[in-house]
């Protein structure tokens, strides 16, 4: 009896060990087998490529089910969508890149890819793709002189003050051209019983729309080499008095009672509702907010004007988002490139551009009729070149600590000057950690 038991237990142990060992080896095993299937793609066997997107962009035009089906029929390549949780997208992608278990294509933002994902080391250069020569605006897809990403649109999203045109018309207000006019307009709106400015600063990134566009406008007009100097440690953030003024200006609006009362409790997801209910008249945000509001109620008439920190400022152009990238370690690089080719083909690209009302980035794809607010932005700011790329585009490190410091101003924890001092320290450390020369 006991002998039998012993044998049984040995057997059990052996099988447990086998399972454990098999689990250890599964990583290398699976990647080996998929490589094999990739190799045989030429012989007409079906290949599956992985496309990772954030859950927030699940409606992205590039992952439309019909489009993917069409691609599969044409090429026998199946695209499998991996949805990553929105808040963790960066961490998940960083980890996947670090361990070499990368998807074949990812959707991400170019500027963030530079600061978060080590663009140059991790991603394929796409300069020689057949579609590259047809691009109207290479810049929005490029970093360091090379094309790293793909998109059919060149509209980068404009940042400024989103405002309700109806409220402005009812109160006889015109677009303020400077800070004093802006305050005067806000006072009038307040007198009419409407909250002039909505600040959803529970989300720390929202504190940076005002500063990011204003800093960029200041630099473009007064110190064209400012970003280079900051990135080479030739200048410190505290060296620029205008930065302090700009941060202070945003806080003063709150101090003067021109905003919602509890700015640190209100979050961005409340913004659409606040505009729909006409509780608020203005907000520092990108024109994507206008789209979101008009999607809910097409009768809403919103517009955008530049951050009025100084006389006749430029509208901030955010770096383009939602591009597709191919990691260097992807297992099916060729198939992934085929997918981009497919999207770039004039017929498919035209379909996407029409449906999404994009400003086309291909010389043989025409831009459809734009929504009123967008056409107005194109006419007033983009065509006469009254735009400036926002600060994010010049930064190669994570800016969220700056946002936190800006948020702290509203919590009473820091003055404008202390924000810049704290950010100087953090910026220095981040640049040093990154190994940038001069730090």
């Amino acid at each position: 009896m006991s002998k039998k038991m012993k044998r049984t237990s040995k057997l059990l142990l052996l099988s447990a060990l086998t399972v454990a060992l098999a689990a250890c080896g599964s990583n290398s095993g699976s990647s080996g087998s998929s490589e094999a299937s990739g190799g045989s793609a030429g012989s007409g066997q079906k290949v599956t490529i992985e496309l990772a997107i954030s859950k927030a962009s699940q409606d992205s035009a590039f992952v439309d089910a019909e489009l993917l089906k069409k691609f599969e029929e044409q090429t026998n390549i199946k695209v499998n969508i991996q949805q990553l949780p929105s808040e963790q997208v960066t961490t998940v992608l960083q980890t996947k890149l670090a361990v070499g278990e990368t998807p074949d294509i990812i959707q991400y933002n170019l500027a963030s890819a530079v600061s978060d994902l080590n663009l140059e080391r991790n991603f394929e250069i796409l300069d020689n793709e057949s579609w590259a020569s047809r691009l109207l605006n290479k810049e929005v897809l490029s970093s360091g002189g090379h094309i790293y990403s793909f998109h059919v649109s060149q509209d980068t999203g404009m940042q400024g003050v989103v405002y309700n045109k109806e409220i402005f018309e009812e109160l006889g207000l015109s677009i303020p051209a400077n800070y004093d006019e802006f305050i005067a307009a806000a006072e009038k709106i307040k007198a009419a019983g409407i909250t002039p400015i909505f600040m959803p600063f529970k989300d720390h990134w929202a504190t940076n729309i005002w500063t990011s566009a204003a800093f960029a406008d200041y630099a473009a007009k007064n110190e064209p080499t400012l970003w280079e100097d900051l990135n080479a440690n030739k200048k410190k953030w505290t060296d620029i008095p205008a930065f302090e003024t700009i941060i202070q200006q945003q806080y003063d609006l709150y101090e003067k009672g021109l905003t919602n009362t509890d700015v640190l409790s209100d979050s961005y997801d409340m913004a659409v509702g606040k505009f729909l209910n006409k509780e608020v008249a203005m907000m520092f945000m990108g024109d994507w907010l206008i789209q979101d509001v008009e999607n809910k109620d097409p009768n809403m008439r919103l517009g955008l004007f530049p951050i009025p920190y100084a006389q006749d400022a430029l509208v901030g152009a955010s770096p383009l988002g939602g591009q597709l990238f191919i990691p260097k370690q992807a297992k099916h690089i060729e198939e992934a490139k085929k997918f981009l080719e497919f999207l770039a083909s004039p017929e498919v690209a035209q379909e996407i551009v029409n449906e999404q009302e994009y400003v086309s980035n291909f010389n043989d794809v025409t831009t459809p009729e734009l929504p009123e607010y967008k056409q107005e932005i194109v006419d007033l700011y983009i065509t006469p070149q009254k735009t400036v790329t926002t600060m994010e585009a010049y930064m190669s490190i994570d800016l969220s600590e700056l946002y936190r410091n800006l948020q702290d101003v509203f919590a009473g924890g820091k003055t404008a000057k202390e924000v810049l001092e704290a950010w100087d320290t953090k910026f220095n450390q981040l640049m040093k950690d990154k190994g940038v020369e001069g730090f």
Partner: protein
């Protein structure tokens, strides 16, 4: 007996031990190694950098604040959860008609997800929220606060919510402890003329020590490892006012600063171990048997 010994040979522990080593011991050792490196997202190579990460932890303003907040959270919640837990348990161990209902009510927050709790509490804690309105309506307007947005009190608000959530769970453990105490002790004490306070101090508390030990350990370790409460209620803000070690680890990994994140993790592991193991031994020795 002989058969039983052979039945459970030491080899039988192997599968469990293997899994434990593979998923806990090994990562802990590897983590210990990485916390002395400059392991980063944007570095091609990983090199040894001595105590640099730990020096950063103890010099960076935000990280010191996070350490301080973690200690505050641990101390306040250990006291709050256990004192309230014992009081509730003693009260609900009496012969009340609604005893079972009340037990269920006090226990119920601990089965809720902290996410749900935060969704319920966040609007209540706004400066124009229900809690402040309540204070104002009874003439205590001076007590109203910006609960989650004032850097000076935000960590205490998070503590209070955590205590509210988990005191009922501590109560359940204390109740089990109380019910194992024989009634004869109290009868004897009453005959000897001891009042209810004296019998609480001299009978209930000593005989409750095993339950107290378990609860102290659970709440202390839980307090030092705090993450979800802070993450969902404040995200570490406003600014960095409510950052704790847990959220800083998350942030460091998010920034691609993996060496620093691992160092924080190692520090947390060492601190938790250094506090809880001696405490466990100390408390064990104090325990009395009936």
């Amino acid at each position: 007996m002989k058969i039983a010994k052979k039945l459970y040979s030491y080899y039988m522990v192997m599968p469990a031990l293997l899994i434990y080593v593979l998923f806990f011991v090994l990562p802990a050792i590897i983590g210990f190694y990485y916390s002395f490196t400059d392991w980063r997202l944007d570095r091609e190579t990983i090199s040894f950098n001595g105590w640099t990460n730990f020096k950063t932890i103890f010099t960076d303003e935000t990280l010191i604040l996070a350490l301080k907040n973690t200690v505050i959270f641990a101390v306040v919640t250990v006291i709050g959860k256990n004192v309230i837990g014992i009081v509730l348990a003693v009260a609900l161990n009496m012969k009340l008609k609604t005893r079972n209902l009340l037990r269920a009510i006090f226990y119920s927050p601990s089965i809720l997800s902290i996410l749900v709790i935060s969704i319920v509490f966040t609007p209540m804690l706004r400066s124009d929220g229900v809690i402040n309105k309540l204070f104002e309506s009874v003439g205590l307007g001076s007590l109203s606060q910006a609960w989650l947005t004032d850097p000076a009190i935000v960590i205490f608000t998070v503590c209070a919510i955590s205590i509210w959530q988990s005191a009922g769970f501590q109560m359940a453990i204390y109740l089990a402890g109380l019910q194992s105490i024989s009634k004869e002790y109290y009868e004897a004490a009453t005959i000897d003329g001891a009042g209810s306070w004296k019998s609480f101090v001299h009978i209930t508390l000593p005989l409750l020590l095993p339950a107290i030990n378990i609860n102290l350990m659970l709440t202390l370790i839980g307090g030092l490892k705090v993450f979800s409460e802070v993450f969902v209620l404040t995200g570490g803000g406003p600014g960095n006012a409510s950052q704790v070690v847990g959220t800083i680890i998350m942030r460091s990994f998010g920034e691609g600063n993996w060496g620093l994140g691992t160092a924080m993790n190692t520090l947390l592991f060492v601190v938790v171990t250094a506090i809880s193991i001696p405490l466990l031994y100390f408390m064990r020795r104090k325990e009395v048997s009936e």
